[in-house]
């Protein structure tokens, strides 16, 4: 069903039951046919939408009237039916008569509702909607990070879990289907597809038998369409993944929603785990993310208890693997929902809070407008009362008016939200889970209409009620008595104070976020970020023949990568080439890459702190301009010696040896292998500017005991021309013609992206604050202008008695400043406490600084002063004679 039809169905749902049951289906069918045959679908759909509200109102009127509600009004006033129509017409007319007022209210509501709706749409899709899997509420994730195959089998001891699914993802080369391609491969266990309710579009999915050594693969729907043109004969064909032949057995249904917590946001090829002995029993292959489904009667608490048992049992059996400085490595159990959205829940809620503040400020301005309009309406209401209208019907009319404004404002809000969501998704840094399905739909429409209506009623109807209640007194009194009465002025003032306070909260938070962003940009990364490009790639090596071992040969692999390095180094303009498992600012699948290990320093107090281990070549330090504080990088010839050479970071050297110089010559063991320290490198922020200077170990690339799936090559060059990428690719293909080179990324770009989410936060809050400031200025100016116009007579008298225009000007300015000052005081407190909520998004020491608070306060006071100036001028320009004559 298309979006239009879904929206229309939502509208039909609003019709009275009898109408809906009789004609609802037919209406939807008819629109469907219209759309199917129309040359311009949009025109047809919008005609149907725009004409709907009127029919909706008429249908409800009919139903309510023929529903046998006794007509409360005398016959002479016409039937009840006419009364309702008349009220709608009257309200409509009255709103159209004051277009500036109506338009302002609708726009204010639109901005407020639109912002809230946009963020709500995102929150709704990401956090509120259940995951689309069978028994999704019973799905749990086990353990942070990844697990080996035998570790997964340990979990099976847990009684509370009925089925398990594990998934490991990686980049791989696909050959045998046209040009070589780099694809995302997911290796999944038997339980995976059944657990997430996946279906096959054609062929079949993986079965338990596949995990016993059948070289089979399942394609993603997108891959099937993109690469194989949706050809059904693909089932049974052989493709090559990292040079290993695999038979395609099926294609996953296109509607399958990826369990992002396990496999990330895209997968091209699915395959079963490698059944080799090594793979099944080696506890060092940490690669699977794991989820399980609770038995129907089991609770997550039971699962947690059992996971504790598993964690301690395996720690007893393999203490070197499953304990660290803090003791046993625990296996936390979380709901799958939480596992999917864990990282974004807090920021999204903060955004939702910020837009709610904005909505409140917009609402306060609506109240200002209603109060100001009230003056004009007092006479109208009094006249109608004099003609015999009852309080109830006057209130009903105000209600209908507010409702009309609210729904219209809601619709404008939907339009704003529609654009806003698009903008949010485009600008938001990558990594928002479940982003693929976000869009404005019927549910969101309903939300917007509801928020619009509630806002309009709370901020529009409530302050207008005194009008209808007739506290306005008899007709002959002028309008002033109601809306310039003390209570109304108090309400007005309170609103301004509230608006100023709420805006200050937004401005201060925007300021803090902005400073965080700036501070982070000035953070020293500790390595060169200009003139370096990186290229990830996979160089597959065939399995070794015979000799009982079925693992590929690391030495062969190293030679081939080194050949690529040499070819790149010969490219014009290239000043140096290095390669490693990963390069700075590279995160793999949202986690810090690299083996985090505990080196053992014989005879020393180990820091017992996991250190990132970076496998790199000897040129790494020179290319990234990482200073050597003591000693020097290893030479290539030394890498074959035993113990192998290594470089440690300054922090690690200080912790273990006291200072950098003392560390040179020291030794450590890592994974039962001996290393000697030949140099101490300056600390770097390998993972980004907001990450701590971690302890790090650098070891030679050619000491890796196995063939890594991926390698990243970094090239130092001052070239920035367009031909660079093509030249680098050509250099790779000269020696490795079938290896894809999907991305060539500059480190400078990576550094920029590293700060992108802070920029986004600051921008979002900045936008909200600017809107809020404009609204505050409008509200304050409006209130003071109104006050001045109401006090014209007394201002005139004061002038006549000898007051100078300057004095009047000052007194109005003073009122404005006083209101703003009260708001600022309240807002500063609010900002300070609400700052705790965004503290996690802030960066640096003293992130919630007073200086920013002071600047924000001054900004608000300047805005308040500017907003008070026009009313003050008007007061000063009062003509005493005119003001005394009028009214």
């Amino acid at each position: 069903m298309t979006g239009y039809l879904r929206a229309y169905r939502a509208l039909i749902a609003l019709l009275p039951r009898s109408v809906r049951l009789h004609d609802g289906d037919e209406m939807l069918r008819t629109l469907e046919e219209q759309l199917a045959h129309a040359p311009n679908r949009r025109a047809v759909a919008w005609r149907a939408f725009l004409r709907f509200p009127k029919v909706l109102a008429l249908e409800w009127r009919d139903v309510l009237v023929s529903g046998g509600i006794p007509a409360p009004l005398p016959v002479s006033r016409g039937s009840h039916m006419d009364a309702v129509t008349r009220m709608l017409k009257q309200s409509g007319r009255s709103l159209v008569r004051t277009p500036v007022f109506s338009l302002s209210v609708v726009l204010l509501l639109g901005v407020g509702v639109g912002s809230v709706t946009a963020i709500f749409t995102v929150v709704d899709h990401v956090l509120l909607r259940g995951l689309p899997y069978p028994a999704a509420e019973r799905l749990v994730g086990i353990g942070d990070g990844v697990h080996s195959m035998p570790a997964m089998r340990d979990f099976e001891a847990m009684q509370s879990i009925e089925t398990w699914a594990g998934a490991a993802t990686d980049e791989a080369n696909l050959t045998g289907a046209g040009d070589p391609l780099r694809v995302r491969q997911a290796i999944v266990t038997d339980g995976f597809f059944p657990m997430f309710g996946a279906r096959a579009a054609i062929g079949r999915l993986l079965q338990p038998a596949d995990s016993r050594g059948a070289a089979t693969a399942v394609l993603s729907y997108g891959m099937w369409v993109r690469v194989f043109g949706g050809d059904t004969s693909v089932v049974g064909r052989t493709i090559r993944i990292n040079d290993a032949p695999m038979t395609v057995v099926g294609v996953v249904d296109g509607r399958f929603a990826l369990p992002e917590a396990l496999v990330g946001t895209s997968v091209d090829v699915w395959s079963p785990p490698d059944p080799s002995e090594d793979y099944m029993t080696n506890r060092d292959y940490w690669m699977f993310r794991v989820a399980g489904r609770l038995r129907e009667a089991a609770t997550i608490e039971q699962a947690r208890q059992e996971a504790k048992g598993v964690a301690s049992a395996r720690a007893r059996e393999f203490p070197t693997k499953y304990t660290n400085s803090r003791g046993i490595i625990e296996l936390p159990v979380r709901t799958f929902d939480e596992m999917t959205t864990g990282g974004v829940e807090r920021p999204l809620k903060v955004f939702l809070g910020a837009v709610t503040l904005l909505l409140l400020v917009a609402g306060a301005n609506v109240t200002h407008l209603i109060l100001a309009r009230g003056v004009a309406r007092v006479r109208e209401m009094a006249l109608r009362r004099a003609l015999g209208a009852r309080t109830r019907s006057l209130i009903a009319q105000l209600l209908v008016e507010s409702g009309l404004l609210g729904v219209t404002g809601g619709l404008v809000g939907v339009a704003i939200a529609y654009v806003g969501v698009r903008a949010f998704l485009i600008l938001a840094p990558a990594g928002l889970p479940r982003a693929a399905t976000i869009g404005v739909d019927a549910r969101v429409l309903l939300f917007a209409a509801g928020v619009g209506l509630i806002t309009a009623i709370v901020f529009g109807l409530v302050p207008a009620l005194p009008l209808a209640r007739g506290s306005g007194g008899p007709l002959r009194e002028s309008g002033r008595s109601v809306t310039s009465g003390r209570s109304a002025q108090r309400l007005r003032n309170a609103l301004v104070v509230g608006e100023v306070a709420l805006s200050l909260v937004l401005v201060v938070q925007a300021g803090w976020l902005l400073r965080s962003f700036i501070r982070m940009q000035h953070e020293e990364l500790g390595f060169r970020t200009t003139g370096i490009v990186t290229m990830p790639m996979s160089i597959p090596v065939a399995r070794r023949a015979g000799a009982g071992s079925d693992a590929p040969d690391p030495a062969v692999w190293y030679q081939r990568v080194d050949a690529v390095r040499e070819s790149l180094a010969r490219t014009p303009g290239v000043q140096g080439v290095t390669f490693g498992l990963t390069m700075p600012l590279e995160w793999v699948g949202g986690v810090q890459c690299c083996w985090s290990t505990r080196p053992d320093f014989p005879g020393r107090d180990s820091p017992e702190r996991p250190s990132a281990t970076h496998h790199v070549t000897e040129d790494f330090f020179a290319i990234f301009a990482i200073r050597m504080l003591a000693g020097e990088a290893w030479s290539h010839s030394a890498t074959m010696e035993s113990p192998a050479p290594a470089v440690v970071s300054a922090q690690l050297a200080r912790q273990v040896f006291g200072d950098a110089a003392a560390a040179v010559g020291g030794a450590f063991t890592l994974d039962q292998k001996q290393y000697r320290i030949v140099g101490v490198a300056a600390d770097t922020r390998h993972y980004g500017a907001d990450q701590p200077y971690g302890t790090a170990i650098y070891i030679p690339m050619n000491t890796i005991p196995l063939v890594p799936a991926n390698v990243t090559i970094a090239v130092r060059t001052d070239r920035t021309d367009d031909a660079l990428a093509a030249d680098l690719r050509a250099a790779v293909w000269q020696v490795e013609p079938s290896v894809p080179v999907p991305t060539i990324r500059s480190i400078a770009e990576a550094a920029r992206r590293d700060t992108a989410h802070r920029q986004f936060d600051a921008m979002l809050f900045g936008t909200f604050s600017v809107i809020a400031l404009l609204l505050v200025a409008g509200g304050l100016a409006g209130t003071l202008l109104y006050m001045v116009s109401q006090q014209r007579r007394s201002l005139g008298i004061r002038l006549a008695l000898g007051a100078t225009p300057r004095a009047l000007e000052r007194s109005v300015l003073t009122s404005g400043i006083a209101l703003a000052a009260a708001g600022v005081l309240l807002g500063a407190l609010g900002a300070w406490f609400s700052g705790k909520l965004i503290e996690a998004r802030l960066f640096g020491a003293e992130a919630r600084d007073m200086q920013t608070l002071a600047i924000a306060v001054s900004v608000l006071m300047v805005v308040a002063l500017a907003a008070s100036w026009i009313p003050a001028r008007r007061a000063a320009l009062t003509n005493p004679m005119e003001s005394l004559r009028s009214d």
């Binding site: 229309y8 209406m27 008819t30 046919e33 219209q34 149907a48 029919v55």
Partner: protein
């Protein structure tokens, strides 16, 4: 009797050509009015419901259609209404033409 809305008049006229379902009516009305009257489902079904209640049209299901599909046909009463309305409009036009031909400025 109050005058018929042009929309209802067109719907009745369309149904004199034979029974139609909702989309068929919309299309035929569009053609007959040379794209002047563009109907939307909500208004159409509201009209149809009222005309049915007044006995001008009734529902039927054509053999062979799947049973969700509903078609409408004009009743003798509806035909009468249409005829008298057309007659009324024609006499109205006859009355107007001379004054238009006179070219009042």
């Amino acid at each position: 009797m109050r005058p018929l809305a042009p929309r209802d008049l067109l719907v009745l006229a369309v149904l004199t050509d034979g029974p139609q379902h909702g989309y068929g009516i919309i299309k035929a009305v569009e053609e007959r009015s040379s794209h002047d009257v563009l109907l939307d489902p909500a208004n159409l079904y509201r009209s149809l419901r009222r005309m049915e209640a007044d006995g001008w049209i009734d529902e039927m299901r054509r053999a062979g259609d799947d049973d969700r599909r509903r078609t409408y046909r004009i009743t003798p009463r509806g035909r009468g209404i249409l005829t008298s309305e057309v007659t009324r409009l024609e006499s109205l036009l006859r009355g107007l033409r001379p004054s238009l031909a006179g070219g009042k400025r």
